[in-house]
Amino acid sequence: MSITFITLLLIAFFLLIVPAILYNSLVRLRVRVKTAWSQIDVQLKRRHDLIPNLVETVRGYAKHERETLENVTKARIQAINATNLREKASSENILTGTLRSLFAVAENYPDLKANQNFLNLQEELTTTENKIAFARQFYNDEVMRYNTAIQTIPRNIIARMFTFTESDFFELEDPREKALPEVKF
């Protein structure tokens, strides 16, 4: 076996096998980002499904808060109709804001606060919001891994060849971040 043959083999290896491995790893990362996104979508849909029920329950007790209730309904429709990621993020933020004011209004109605149905819905919404936050966190982690991969050597070359584009982070106002205590540095 001559040296040239071995060099040829090595070159073939570097030209074919290594790019294939790198390409596969990129595809795997991209699929992961997609799976992580679908998790967020599931949770967002769950939240949208809960809201009509909540609005109905509150309406039964607080008939004079029509404006607040309508805001929530409007924000929900907007959130459902949002198509791209950035639109989704902003409309979800608005929805979170309107829900917060709805719960603030509910504080004024002791009967409503004692209603089991309302309490259940409140707990459901809290857990769904936490799930959204966690799913978002998982998604952003995956996006970070993917984006780092397509920007660093050697995978950036493959990424450019096969047009792997950077994914967007999903920025939301995190309800859990608000609850955290102040940390002093």
């Binding site: 992961r32 992580a36 009967d111 209603n115 089991q116 966690f134 998982f138 995956e142 609850a179």
Partner: protein
Amino acid sequence: MPFSFIDIETKQSRKIILLFLTLVIFYFIGFLLIYSASELTIFIESIRGSHQWHKTHSILPSFQTILILLATSFLAALVHWMLSIRNMINRMLSVIRAKPIDPEDRYHLLFKNIVDEVSVATGGIKIEPYVVASRYLNAFALSDFHGRSIIGISEGLLLKMNRRQLEGVIAHEAGHLVWDDCLPATVSCSMAAVYAGLLRMIVSDQERARLPASLPLMVAVFIMRFLTLFLNTWISREREIRADATAVRLTRDPLSLAEPLYLISRDWRGDFLPSDELAPIFIVNPIERKLEESYGMFADLFTTHPPIRKRIDILLDMGHTDFKTFEPNVKEKAKIQDEIPISVPKEEKTWYALNGKIWQGPFSPSELSSLKWTDPFTWMTRAHDMKVRSAFEFEEINSLFKKRLSSHLPVYTCPACKNSLERVYYEGVPIWRCKECKGRLVKTEQLSRIIVREEMMFTEQLKEKVKQVRLSSLKNKGRYIKEPPSALTCPACGNIMHRTFYRAVHPYHMEIDTCRMCSLFWLDQDELEIIQYLTQGRL
């Protein structure tokens, strides 16, 4: 680290082989030690002159013997493996006395929700929530080869922690699941258990027959026991810290774990374990020892968990704070005051119904539909309205009857005063209460949960009643005040209830009515609180 359950599954098979090989090696070392020990015994005996020492004997085993030992240890490992993985989780759950959650219980629901949330954060590991009905503060995680994962928590912890703190605890356990720590821990636990059992057997034999010959054997098993314990503890200690770190990665909130750790360290973790071997699966060692909280190499070798203070310090460091500012800010959850009725639409009592030949009332619509003697054909009327019709002709009542038919909840009437029972949450447990006489219908398992919870505040009035119960039980010395059988019928099956003494309040005597077939208790007004008061601080 693995990023999702898919990676865990691919890693699983490699891990299983590794674990099995470890098991084989352990058995081999064990057999080798036992073999040399027995040879040594024969040697000692021969020196004494009671036994012939052949030239073929040697304390070091020959190649052939090693092969035989290897084969035997392989077989033993195989048997052990089969035994330990068969039904592994269920056996461990029964040892810990963990039960699946009750989806109607408010605390259990909260627990389930948080487990689901954390499961989302891990990228979708499917986790089953389990609960142990006891007052100690601890949590654990289990998993097996079929990808079944369990996170369990004690009622005590579930009660004393707020939502954020629970999230920290569950994230720590989920950290174990993400790293797949539980599987080797479970197998190594069962491994250690074998040696511990063997040692116990030998020791008891020793006491019975005083066999000096088994001394080397005992030493061999003793060494094996310590070796497995090392393995156990060494694996466990490293893992706790790693799981703490993963918990922070999942929740992004180091204090949410530091706080429960601090609260647990000041409370009771429970020494309910049949042996030390199960300790590694818990968040803090259930068996409290001085050694556990000390530093140094010796402690490192012999304890399953790192000192809690060390773990808290690491977490506080991540949260950029220190123990002095952290400690005064940790607060326990506030107690709740009252029973919460489930769904209380306000209704006016304006309805009358014909029971046989007597008009009864006034009732609210929901009361009417839940009375046992009413049906859609009962004659009914409204106050200030002279029309008398069948119930189904009133739309309002008819819809309630329809709802009652479609709901899975049974309709009960009070055994004492025959009014309808309503559903209420008592300390988060859904029970039945009579609106009029305030008696309560409780399932047996619910009662044990209520006893653990201790959330109600006790009024002075109640304390007075407790005093009376104590006095009367001293006076009557175990005789019934009201003679059995009781005059009450079970709301569920209609049979006559049994009048018995409630066992958990011993040495005091409290008579309560129970239906053993339906495992239901009927408690008169305040009796539930009295039971709680008398069982305070007990297991």
